[in-house]
Amino acid sequence: MAMKFRTMKRHFREGAKNIWRNSWMTIASVGAVTTTLVLVGAFLALMLNLSHIAGNLEEDVEIKAFVDLTAEQAEIDAIGAEIEEISEVSLVEFSTKEEELEGLIESMGDEGQVWELYEQDNPLSHAYIVKTTDPLDTVSVASQIEAIENVEKVNYGQDVVQNLFTFNNYARNIGLVLIIGLVFTAIFLISNTIKITIMARRKEIEIMKLVGATNGFIRWPFFVEGLLLGVLGSIIPIAAIVTGYYYLSNNVSSLTQFEFVELLSFNPFAWQLSLLILAIGASIGVWGSVMSVRKFLKV
């Protein structure tokens, strides 16, 4: 049944009025929403950034396959072709032994000059630098490359990479479980607070029904009220997260010693997170309010 526009307007007005009429309950509910959303928000920011950093580290993983010193040019090309055949491989780059030496000298800085002596008689091998589409395939791809003829050895930081992947995997799973747990706790806490506040109003609901109000007529203002409670409750968390994240993302490099720590950039991440928090707040508010009122409608 199509609702009259003025009735809809009435529901919004009434829902907003209820925020004032039940000021103590509003404070209790908004407080519960605020507390949990601050936790959820901070935790989400932490987890998403950890995951982002872990992802960056994984991106940096590459396989270096050193070519046997005695290999002829044709054999070297054959290695390249074979590596490209491996389906998980996304990028293959050939690096001559001269380039390898240059890279080595550069990475050594001032001490690198000693190595310049070797420019005449380069002891290094040519190498293929290989990246996989999914960093997690690194280990299996590396062993496939190692099996190719004329590949002397492969290097991908074996121990470090294995540990990194295991750690990241754990971190992501634990983070996911914690977030789900936290969101559920939030839903439980908030809907309980709202339930208590509505319980106190069951008499009102009963009266409305006796005056001839339909369930929908009673429910709508509660829907609006829940929505507003959720939105009001997300104001402080959003402000806290935006300012906190702004400060953090500007200062993170000076706060930590690690250069590889690079946070998700403030814009758009902080805004996306704010939007997410607003959405969580609003839906929990609506859900808690509509679910609680449902019980008292059978009069």
Binding site: R21, L210, V211
Partner: protein
């Protein structure tokens, strides 16, 4: 207007409140429901607007078979019936005006009509100047008059009052009765449960006495018939 045939009501806890009632009330009548406490008066009234459902029997109100109503249809039955409660049942956080307006908002009236009509009935019950108060700020008699205003604001065909003078002093009670008579004079059927011997014996109307869940007496221009 109201037709009950072979109506029984047993509560889940085993109490038999109505034990076989046949009664017909015509449009425009003014009927007192009298009888000892716990004899079934309140249940009788609640059956009319479907706050309670009979265990057995048939009830027709305003042409609607009350038993056949679905949950969704009950609100529409109640819109034709104004109910005045002994405990007023006002919405505590709404102003006098909002309480009365609620009954009109429910049926989707325009704000303009609502304003006009609410002030009209508040004038009728003499509370025009208290429109912005909340119920708690008013006396019992004033609250009762608000609940009457709310009950009649949408021109119901039937007005039910469950001991509307029960908590009020004599002066206020007569004032309430004057309002109810005025409404009845306008063609609205009025059913009023009461314990007031004085009122029943002074303003003579049809009297239905309910005792032990049965109609013990039904007479026009009757007496209260019980010692107080």
């Amino acid at each position: 207007m109201i037709d009950m045939q072979g109506v029984y009501k047993t509560y889940p806890n085993g109490v038999i409140a109505i034990n076989g009632i046949d009664v017909t009330i015509e449009q425009g009548e003014f009927v007192y429901i009298v009888g000892p406490s716990g004899a079934g008066k309140s249940t009788f009234i609640k059956l009319i607007f479907r706050e309670e459902k009979p265990t057995k029997g048939s009830i027709t109100v305003n042409g609607k078979d009350v038993l056949k109503l679905k949950w969704k249809q009950i609100p529409y039955l109640r819109r034709d019936i104004g109910v005045v409660y002994q405990d007023f049942k006002l919405l505590p956080k709404m102003t006098v005006y909002e309480n009365v307006a609620f009954a009109l908002e429910v049926i989707g009236e325009t704000p303009k009509t609502i304003r006009k009509r609410v002030m009209e009935v508040l004038d009728l019950v003499g509370l025009k100047n208290k429109a912005r108060f909340i119920p708690d700020e008013l006396s019992g008699g004033e609250q009762q008059r608000i609940s009457i205003a709310r009950a009649i604001v949408n021109y119901p065909k039937l007005l039910i009052a469950d001991e509307p003078t029960g908590n009020l002093d004599p002066d206020t009670s007569w004032e309430i009765m004057r309002i109810l008579e005025e409404i009845n004079a306008g063609g609205t059927t009025v059913i009023m449960a009461t314990h007031s011997k004085e009122i029943v014996n002074t303003i003579k109307k049809r009297v239905i006495a309910i005792e032990d869940g049965l109609i013990a007496r039904d007479q026009h221009r009757g007496e209260y018939g019980y010692e107080v």
